[in-house]
């Protein structure tokens, strides 16, 4: 009995339900560039502690703008940010001390060596110089640390950027498109680093991307943003559940109008093309009803099939509307 309770508690613990502290919380965060419409519109994020939070959206959705506000580079037009349970406005430097950022392309002085680049951040931040070689080792750049950073490959540059973020040993990493422009090998390396940081050291990681596949592979939580608006937030499991619930059912028919009439009783009826209709049945029972009513009405249909909605499709679907 005790064992079962313990297991249950452990399970809750893993799911972050008992220990759910929010590291980043935004309230109606809004930003607009001068004279333009809102780049970020009343966004509410909450990033739980110990999560890898994937911040997902197509290009130009407002991801970078949001991250720049989280870094204090842009001032929100309205709304507020809380990090580590403190108001960002009031406790900015205390918050920055516990977080590290890598925003878009890494900051890189091309005329200096990789090590000197890290040394700079170390000096500027007032961090322990002993960590320089440690973090370079961490991102597998020890062998290349004395080469000029300008000659690094894209992946090495990105890893150097991550090394810079690792220096202060922060509790939170905010990474903006860290795998952008990398080849699959480079992406894999970065992903390994990120997952390691999370699993081994319990760091919270907030990572933005426009690639759903990337997010799917490593994240525990997902937030989707589109046109500056938040449209979904939840654990990766919840996203998968949403995915299941919007199962699509398509009917290919020769008598479009008649079929349309018969099926008008069902929810979310949609014409896909000239002879295909789409409905969203709640369950198998309803799926049967659809077919039955078509047969009863004598509608000539050639195919009735389920569309398996992958996350990719869901993402496109969600961002289309």
């Amino acid at each position: 009995m005790f064992c079962i309770v313990l297991k249950f508690v452990l399970c809750l613990y893993r799911e972050n339900i008992l220990t759910m502290t929010t590291i980043i919380k935004t309230n109606d965060l809004t930003f607009h560039f001068h004279g333009k419409q809102n780049a970020v519109n009343e966004l509410n994020l909450s990033v739980p502690e110990g999560s890898i939070y994937g911040f997902l959206g197509p290009n130009g959705a407002g991801k970078s703008t949001t991250i720049r506000m989280l870094a204090g580079l842009l001032r929100p037009a309205s709304g507020s940010i809380e990090m580590f349970d403190k108001s960002f406005k009031k406790a900015k430097s205390a918050i920055l001390r516990r977080s590290a950022y890598m925003i878009e392309e890494p900051t890189l002085y091309k005329h200096l060596t990789g090590r000197q680049n890290i040394e700079l951040i170390c000096k500027s931040g007032g961090y322990d110089a002993k960590r320089i070689d440690e973090v370079l080792d961490w991102v597998h750049l020890s062998d290349d640390k004395n080469r000029k950073a300008g000659n690094y490959s894209m992946g090495m540059k990105q890893r150097l950027g991550i090394a810079g973020a690792l220096l202060p040993d922060p509790d939170l990493f905010v990474l903006d498109e860290p795998t952008n422009g990398l080849d699959p090998q480079g992406m894999y390396e970065i992903r390994e680093l990120i997952v390691d940081l999370n699993k081994k050291y319990g760091k919270t990681i907030f990572i933005s991307s426009h690639l759903l596949g990337e997010i799917e592979k490593m994240c525990t939580h997902v937030g989707i943003i589109h046109h500056g608006k938040g449209i979904f937030e939840g654990s990766i499991q919840e996203l998968a559940d949403v995915n299941k619930s919007v199962k699509l059912f398509r009917i290919e028919t020769l008598q479009m109008e008649k079929a349309n009439e018969v099926l008008s009783a069902f929810e979310n009826l949609k014409k896909v093309d000239e002879n295909t209709l789409e409905v969203q049945p709640k369950d198998k029972e309803q799926q049967y009803q659809i077919i039955a009513s078509l047969v009863n009405a004598g509608v000539e249909f050639t195919q009735a099939y389920e569309v398996k909605n992958s996350l990719e499709e869901l993402f496109i679907q969600v961002t289309e509307n």
Binding site: F33, R68, A71, G72, L73, L74, R75, S93, A94, L96, R97, S99, A100, Y101, M102, I103, E104, E105, P106, T107, L108, Y109, K110, H111, L112, Q116, E119, L120, I121, K123, S124, G125, G126, G164
Partner: protein, 261 residues
């Protein structure tokens, strides 16, 4: 105490960024080049530093050197070195990284300002030392110029570079602000070039030239023959310091409150 230590490590980091960049080499060769040219001229025409009535080779040599740099080259050097140092940050996408470090933004502004001033000072010092070296060289080649016999006017030269440095401060603060503001470094350099050129024309008789920051180095330097107007702080130095204070403050405020895209 801790904050002083932190600030000095910030300055060290800022200095490290500029090492072996254009700004670095410009500062070294900028101080060498004019004394070298004047040296070559005087070597072939030693009579120009000889005064029949009163032999003052060092003063004449100093005068030629200062005249060559003060109206145009020195302000232009300040414009260039300021823009080049700030350009390193723009080119490396660096503001967004360094401004997420847990320090007040103003401290980064000041640390970089210290480095810019350091380079301006270095150029002045190299300038003076190369004048001395080349002067002694001429003395060896042409003993009749009396460079070796006459005492080197260290004190006057020190006073002169102090005045020149102070007169450059206004330009530094204005160009620094412009370079931060414009990512494209052609803009601050072009503007500084135009205003310097305008200043070099103005010295010939515009009545308000005393208030034109880019003309101030030209206004303090010609005093060389009059014993370098023995005072260090004259009207022009104060005006330059005024500009420095005003634009330095504006710069810190702008830097601290601007949005970084």
């Amino acid at each position: 105490m801790k904050s002083i230590k932190l600030f000095s490590s910030l300055v060290a980091a800022e200095y490290l960024k500029t090492r072996k960049t254009w700004a670095f080499w410009l500062s070294i060769f900028g101080g060498l080049i004019i004394p070298l040219i004047v040296f070559l001229v005087v070597r072939s025409h030693p009579e120009i530093v000889q005064n029949r009535m009163n032999s003052m080779p060092w003063y004449m040599f100093l005068k030629f050197n200062w005249q060559s740099v003060a109206t145009f080259l020195l302000p232009l050097y300040v414009v260039l070195v300021t823009s080049l140092i700030v350009q390193i940050e723009h080119r490396s996408n660096a503001f967004k990284k360094f401004l997420t470090l847990p320090h007040p933004r103003g401290s980064f502004y000041l640390a970089k300002l210290v480095v810019i001033l350091y380079y301006v000072i270095i150029t002045h010092v190299i300038f003076v030392f190369s004048i001395v070296v080349f002067g002694l060289l001429i003395g060896n080649i042409h003993p009749e110029t009396m460079f070796l016999e006459k005492a080197i006017p260290w004190e006057m030269m020190l006073r002169q570079i102090t005045k020149s440095f102070l007169a450059s401060l206004g330009i530094v603060a204005i160009q620094y602000l412009l370079s931060i503001r414009f990512k494209n470094f052609i803009k601050p350099i072009g503007l500084g070039f135009a205003t310097t050129l305008a200043g070099s024309v103005m010295v010939f008789g515009w009545e308000y030239v005393d208030y034109w920051p880019w003309a101030l180095p030209a206004k303090v330097s010609p005093g060389i023959m009059q014993g370098a107007s023995s005072q260090i702080f004259t009207m022009h130095e104060w005006i330059s310091l005024g500009y420095f204070g005003l634009f330095g403050l504006l710069g810190i405020l702008y830097f601290s409150y601007r949005n970084i895209k």
